[in-house]
């Protein structure tokens, strides 16, 4: 039998993986099998990573740990660190001090700049949306080679961005 991976050497290792109750059989040569076992060892969950990141912040004193429980779903910050999942939207308020830092470490920012739901009317967000719409139109104009329209849109975006910067000063 020939190795399923390299298709050259003789298969001497027979590996059975069970993924979601589905049995996958692989016949591998010694070399490919060694490589595959290294890859398998390297697989570890997102929660391991998150737990590492969440620990990275300032040391939390023992008495603060006791307080860090979400009043709505009863999830403790310790449990969040263990499993990497928050329990409800209230957790974001309950753990806002810790999460602010964590979000910044994950995303490089902790300020939302995207869309908002139709039922939330936020003035500053509306303004952002407008620029987003224009940027999308600009991209399309470029793709369709409507360069005059693209130039107009570009100027509009620049003007709006300058105004936004001045508003924020």
């Amino acid at each position: 039998m020939i190795c399923d991976l390299c298709g050259k050497k003789k298969a001497t290792v027979h590996l059975t993986e069970i993924v979601d109750e589905q049995m996958l059989e692989m016949h591998l040569c010694e070399e490919c099998a060694r490589e595959k076992s290294v890859q398998m060892e390297q697989q570890f969950g997102l929660s391991d990573l998150l737990a590492g990141l969440a620990d990275f912040g300032k040391q939390v004193k023992d008495y603060e740990k006791v307080k860090s429980v979400c009043p709505s779903c009863q999830l403790s910050y310790e449990d969040f660190k263990k499993f990497g999942r928050l329990g409800c939207s209230e957790c974001y308020t309950a753990f806002q001090d810790q999460l602010g830092g964590l979000l910044k470490r994950i995303h490089g920012s902790n300020r939302h700049h995207g869309k908002s739901p139709g039922n939330v009317q936020v003035k500053s967000v509306k303004k952002t949306e407008n620029i987003q719409d224009l940027k999308q139109q600009l991209q399309q104009a470029i793709e369709q080679e409507h360069f005059e329209q693209a130039a107009e849109l570009r100027d509009k975006i620049r003007a709006l961005e300058t105004k936004r910067k001045e508003d924020n000063k």
Binding site: D4, L5, G7, V19, D20, E21, Q22, M23, E25, M26, Q39, Q43, L46, L50, S72, C73, L75, F83, G84, R85, L86, G87, C88, S89, Y92, L99, L102, L103, I106, H107, G108, S109, N110, R111, H112, H113, G114, K115, S116, P117, G118, N119, V120, V122, V125, T128, Q132, K135, Q136, Q139, Q140, E143
Partner: protein, 350 residues
Amino acid sequence: MKLNDLIYQSGQWLKGTGPYSNIVMSSRIRLARNLLSVPFPNKAHKKDLVNVLSSVQEATKKIDYFKKSTLFQMNELDNIDRQFLIERHLMSHEHSSNTEGKALIISQEEILSVMINEEDHLRIQVMQSGLNLHETWKIIDMIDDNLSKILPFAFLQHWGYLTACPTNTGTAMRGSVMLHLPALVMTKQINKVLTAIAKLSFASRGFYGEGTQARGNFYQISNQVSLGHSEVDIIQNINGLIRQVIEQEEQARQALILQNKPMLEDKIFRSLGVLKNAHIISSQETIELLSLVRLGIDLGLVKNIDRCTMNELLILIQPAHLQKIEGRKLSASARDIRRASLIREKLGGV
């Protein structure tokens, strides 16, 4: 629509059309949304999950786009059915376990799918053929706007949409592009490209989703960062990156032809020969051979077979699909035989 109707159709995203479809197989965007004042699925009680499910179901009845869609409750499907939906890229592995309160909505052409009560209350996904993230965004944005008029989504002005995992907070958007990069693999440049992608905070994974190895030279590239940039900015960043990868792949394809065209042709046509003639074939071998034949089609070397057939085969040769086609459970060795006969039927072999 019944689940079995899907066996005889293929998703719109497999058509093999759209911009850069010689290299880009499909574009996909997913949005995560949660309902306000209901615990996330991992902390929710059965009652909460059932309420979420019925609220979402009621909301979709009021939205035109959902008129031709069907809802499947996970606990009413057997293992093969659920695996079948995963293989079609309509839902995740995670959605097929602990099925209490979980459901999946699929639109008729499989453009839209919504997982209810997976990691978040809603995971909305839209897929299109080729490099088409802007069009994909337009569709999903419209669906999300309509849903948000009816369902109260958990949202904070400074942190955006709130999700069970903080890696999704903000836009809660993941844009992914599925690329076929055989020439970058053959010229041994792929690791360099993947390392550069990782450095730019983008993720790359295989054709068969999260945690899978890249097989058959298919790579899925998606954004990791979801907070701090708008949805359109994220899409533009992905597009910019993908265009560069496409350029690299195109250069590598040209280099392969210039260096040794007969060798390349030999590889491609031998692959086609095996696919047309094999009577027993594993999925691993099939995927690798399909990749080479697809390259042959993209380079204009293989005629009389279209890209769509190749894309469809990538889906059909998977275990649950073979068993659905056959209408019964098949052992691994029986599947290898059925797979070979299916390929021969599709490619007009002996």
